[in-house]
């Protein structure tokens, strides 16, 4: 079923930080939400999560850093049980085994606390938790910026493979158009709290229509810069 929200808006201290916005995401679609710092992309992401959950849709969120998702005093097994009971699901060893295999964290010791795992494995564990119960939408906020490039690329590849055969849609929030261009089919471009462009990735890259999209395209990757 299509995910759809109309007239989404947000204010902070009486000032509008998100102007009325419509978003539609198809099952299994991969969408990038891009813009510079302060453009309102995280605000739209969070408002979208709230609105879809109010509609009864299953939306999972992976924050930028695993530190925000994991309690340093609790074991990994505890986190996993919490995530299952949050979805009203009974403990299921087969499900855990499948998700751990998909994200290659089978070797992780569940009795340990987060800091007993490497950072890359923590992040993949958080992604695996988010995928419990096959959500309608997975929202990832700058998923690669807290990781080594090698670890980040490996994580995104594993996620791509896992999502390829499933109905879970992906919303990738990032300032990095280069990353989005590699990973999503459609781009939403934000500027000043407004959604200014919504088009296929190739179309935005080849013919950006707005100043915000043109700026992101011009700065897409380092070697394109006139040095």
């Amino acid at each position: 079923m299509t995910l759809q929200v109309t007239g989404l808006s947000a204010t902070r201290s009486g000032r509008p930080i998100l102007h009325p916005t419509n978003v539609k995401i198809e099952p299994g679609e991969r969408v990038g939400l891009v813009g510079s710092s302060g453009s309102g992309k995280s605000t739209l992401g969070h408002a979208l999560i709230d609105a879809l959950r109010t509609q009864g849709r299953h939306v999972a969120h992976v924050p930028q850093s695993p530190d925000e998702a994991l309690d340093p005093l609790r074991s990994m097994a505890f986190h996993w049980r919490e995530a299952e009971s949050a979805r009203d699901l009974p403990a299921d060893t087969a499900r855990r085994r499948d998700l751990f295999a998909a994200l290659r964290i089978e070797g992780g010791d569940l009795r340990k606390r987060p800091w007993g795992w490497s950072r890359g494995m923590q992040q993949r564990f958080v992604i695996a938790m988010a995928l419990i119960g096959t959500p309608d939408l997975l929202v990832m906020d700058e998923p690669t910026s807290a990781l080594d490039p090698v670890v980040a690329a490996g994580t995104m590849d594993l996620l791509d493979t896992y999502l390829a055969t499933r109905q879970t849609a992906l919303l990738l929030i990032t300032h990095d158009l280069g990353l989005a261009a590699k990973r999503v089919q459609r781009l939403l471009v934000m500027e000043g709290g407004r959604l200014v462009e919504d088009a296929a990735t190739m179309q935005v890259l080849s013919a950006p229509q707005t100043p915000a999209a043109r700026a992101l395209c011009a700065h897409r990757n380092w070697l394109e810069l006139p040095c």
Binding site: S36, S37, R119, T144, S145, D148, P149, V150, V151, A152, A153, G154, M156, D157, H175, D176, L177, G178, L179, A180, A181, K182, R183, A215, L216, H219, R220, N221, W222, L223, E224, L225, C227
Partner: protein
């Protein structure tokens, strides 16, 4: 000229850097890339004299490197400043410490080059954007005209557009000022676009060291290839057909 000769650094019983040799001439840029824990930040600390070398030596023009007054630009722009002081006070610290006088023309030239409006320096760190704070961080590093400037992940806290803009400002200032730049970064795209040479650090050792464009075309080691391919797959580089 910076010369790092067979430097090793131990922390406790662990060898964090092992037999590192590098050289870097004025007006040139060397980036050091590698995974977390490879020893990148320890290398910076060793050059600044903050991590004692267990063997080897680090020299600038044949004398101990500290004598040339190397400067550092830090990763987190806002927390790099004392939060209760105006940015101007912080920027003056390198001069105050050496009892040097401020040359108003130099301050103005640097502010123009870094696109820092004059009144910005009267504010405190929390009152400016992260991009502005990082440009002031660069101003503080350059105010005393150091011949060697170290950058520890100078762009990672900034968004993509600001990153590339700031990288350009650093490169333009380097052309005017002629300092040698040693940049520690995760970002191979930045290294490829702005550095003369790339050194790949892994587990405290230098795996390879080459001209940056040559590295992107053909890394010499397996680990170098893994790093380059990750940068392509994250969209930091475009594959040239």
């Amino acid at each position: 000229m910076l010369t790092v000769e067979h430097v090793s650094v131990e922390r406790g019983k662990t060898l964090v850097l092992e037999d590192i040799s590098l050289s870097l001439a004025p007006n040139r840029t060397l980036t050091v890339v590698g995974e977390s824990g490879a020893g990148k930040s320890t290398l910076i600390a060793a050059i600044l004299g903050l991590a004692p070398c267990t063997s080897g030596q680090i020299l600038w023009a044949g004398a101990p490197v500290r004598r040339c007054g190397p400067a550092l630009v830090m990763q987190e722009p806002r927390s790099a400043f004392n939060p209760v002081l105006s940015l101007r006070r912080s920027v003056m610290e390198p001069l105050t410490a050496r009892r040097a006088r401020l040359d108003d023309n130099r301050l103005k030239t640097l502010c123009d080059g870094l696109e820092i409006p004059p009144d910005l320096l009267e504010r405190r760190p929390a009152q400016v954007s992260i991009g502005q704070a990082q440009r002031v961080g660069i101003l503080r590093a350059l105010i005393g005209a150091p011949p060697l400037v170290l950058f520890d992940e100078p762009l990672s806290a900034l968004d993509a557009v600001t990153q590339k803009h700031t990288a350009r400002l650093i490169a333009d200032l380097q052309r005017q000022e002629g300092f040698a730049a040693l940049i520690v970064t995760h970002d191979l795209g930045y290294a490829a676009a702005f550095a003369d040479d790339i050194a790949v650090l892994r587990a405290g050792r230098i795996e390879e060291q080459t001209a940056s464009r040559a590295f992107i075309d053909a890394p010499q080691t397996d680990y170098g290839r893994i790093l380059r391919d990750a940068a392509f797959s994250l969209g930091a580089l475009e594959r040239v057909a």
